[in-house]
């Protein structure tokens, strides 16, 4: 009915957080360059970039699922845009959003957490494998 709305809302929130974090990371790296006097090579993927992976998964999935809802006539291009609201099935729609929609957002977030953990482990291994001279 409108289950894709939950991941879409999460995607908007993640986009805002990633944007703020990216600004903070840029300011921090500028500060490091100023105080250290030279640019330090950092092999770690910034967290804002990792958040963008989550944003891409959520927005991508929500877009294609929105199309599916248009296909099934559950989303229409006129107000109130959702046929469930038009037909007085708003409670049923909200129940679906709370169950299916939240589960969708949760699964995507869980997959993303797994991706971040694997990436962190790979980055740590790469640092360990670096020759001692490269670290200094």
């Amino acid at each position: 009915m409108a289950c894709f709305a939950v991941p879409a809302v999460e995607a908007i929130a993640v986009t805002a957080v990633a944007y703020i974090l990216q600004k903070k990371e840029a300011a921090r790296s500028l500060q490091v360059v100023k105080t250290e006097g030279a640019e330090i090579e950092d092999n770690k993927t910034p967290f804002s970039k990792k958040l963008k992976w989550l944003r891409n998964l959520l927005f991508g999935g929500a877009l294609l699922l929105a199309f599916e809802h248009v296909w099934h006539g559950e989303v229409v291009p006129w107000f109130p845009f959702l046929t469930a609201v038009q037909n007085g099935e708003a409670a049923q729609m909200l129940h679906e959003m709370a169950t299916v929609g939240v589960s969708m957002a949760a699964l995507i977030t869980l997959v993303w957490v797994g991706m971040v953990l694997v990436t962190n482990a790979l980055e740590k291994r790469a640092v360990k494998l670096q020759p001692h001279s490269a670290k200094n």
Partner: protein
């Protein structure tokens, strides 16, 4: 059927992204995110449907299956259209820019 088509599309897009050295520059990652995002969401949808329908979930009516397959292919096409529009707008190889210059 829609889930199956989305998973196949996601795996193919991921394989292309991995094998082709310039795939990242050509925004293949966009397709990878879209297909995997949709596949995961449809997986949840499928689980809820299975809980409701039990074994009947695996024996859909031929008309429903055809409609779902048609929907799956349309979703793949929509993602491809989004990707080609982004690719032409970003124009990483400058081909659109060159073509426009040549016209002048």
């Amino acid at each position: 059927m829609t889930l199956l088509i989305a998973v196949f599309a996601a795996v193919i897009a991921t394989a292309v992204w991995y094998v082709k050295p310039d795939a990242a520059r050509h925004k293949v990652g966009l397709l990878v995110w879209m297909y995997w995002g949709a596949a995961l969401m449809w997986l949840v949808d499928a689980v809820f449907e299975f809980i409701e329908l039990k074994a009947a979930y695996f024996t859909p009516e031929p008309a429903d299956m055809l409609n779902d397959a048609f929907l799956g292919l349309s979703v793949v096409a929509l993602a491809l259209v989004v990707w080609i529009v982004v690719l032409l707008v970003k124009d990483p190889d400058g081909r659109v820019r060159d073509a426009l210059r040549r016209k002048k």
